[in-house]
Symmetry: C2
Subunit: 212 residues, 2 copies
């Protein structure tokens, strides 16, 4: 009996191509393909559609891999999730693993590694490359005071600051006094060691607070 695999991936060509690969592996067969997380969750309502392994892309338009994994694990904790992504962004990988993924695979790998990862996940319960293992170890002792806490209201201000609005305009948009806005700005500058608004904009974009 082969293990059943479901692929959740928005790029249909990659999805179908991967299906071909997996069906070529001796121990695995594809159950069906999904274009996004929502489709998977809908499909899973039928018990016949519950697979052994879900091969999950992280970046998807409708419902991303992290949200989907959390929802999936709540309903069907026995299903193993293997994350698949081009992203090497540390935060994303950690979020995905915290959501319950049993492994993390880069799209830039050999097919034999994919097969190996599937076997490992199904038989030992997890699969990780050296890179991801190192990342996990690194996340255990976070470099002192690395994470700066930005408050909700400050985040809101930052988004406004990433436009052509003056602080006065931002103030009236946020229903606050211009002086309060200046207060936000000053404390953010201090926290993040920034010198001016341009620096703030770059920071916001780098940290995905504002997406241009």
């Amino acid at each position: 009996m082969k293990y059943s695999v479901v692929i959740v991936e928005d790029h249909i060509l990659l999805s179908q191509a991967l299906a071909g690969l997996v069906n070529g592996f001796s121990k695995f067969k594809i159950l069906y393909l999904c274009k996004n997380g929502r489709e998977l969750l809908t499909r899973l309502k039928d018990p016949k559609n519950i697979p052994d392994i879900v091969l999950m892309d992280i970046n998807m338009p409708i419902m991303n891999g992290i949200e989907t994994t959390i929802a999936l694990k709540e309903e069907h904790p026995q299903v193993n999730v293997l994350a698949l992504s081009v992203e090497e962004d540390e935060k994303t990988i950690l979020k995905m693993l915290r959501a319950g993924a049993k492994g993390y695979l880069l799209k830039d790998t050999e097919k034999s590694i994919l097969e190996n990862a599937l076997v490992e996940v199904q038989e030992t319960g997890f699969y990780h490359t050296k890179d991801v293992t190192n990342l996990l170890l690194g996340s255990l002792n976070p470099k002192k005071e690395n994470k700066v806490v930005l408050k909700e209201r400050e985040m809101e201000f930052i988004k406004h600051a990433c436009t052509e609005k003056t602080y006065k305009e931002i103030a009236s948009d946020m229903c606050l006094s211009p002086k309060t806005i200046e207060g936000y700005r000053d404390s953010i500058f201090e926290k993040l060691h920034l010198k001016n608004r341009t620096g703030l904009v770059i920071y916001a974009i780098k940290n995905k607070i504002f997406i241009p």
Copy 2:
């Protein structure tokens, strides 16, 4: 006799998976796979390695699809190039087509469309979806004054403007008077209808002049 296909794609998993798909098509077979453009050009020095079709990814680390296609067409104009990308960025598509690609395929397509595209490219010389055709038509009559010409020196200034430097500092970095820098800024603001430096930063990032 089957037509030979070479895949140039940096994501090995996708590359191998695609190879599986193509080998499953009745009229095509994979000759070999390449991880980037440079690898392809090296391989092509041996006449035995010249394929009928090259399935080319656009975003690659070493040598991108556009550069590679230009170089390939110079040496082997008879080889048909089918571009493959997730990018729907108009400029990129047009660049690729101008470079000599005979078709443009989104990764978000069905495998039957891939097969159809390969057949069309080989037998009629081109393949385009409705989207790309519309894009081509649109590019013929560019909406009046759409493209703003930025000079080399202005581009350089914009990159500096996307940092925490003051204009005075930018001036000394570019070995110009602060007043000249102000001149650059003002003319750019006018050309691009911007109100302030924040707007310029956002513009630069959107248009990939500055990559954060």
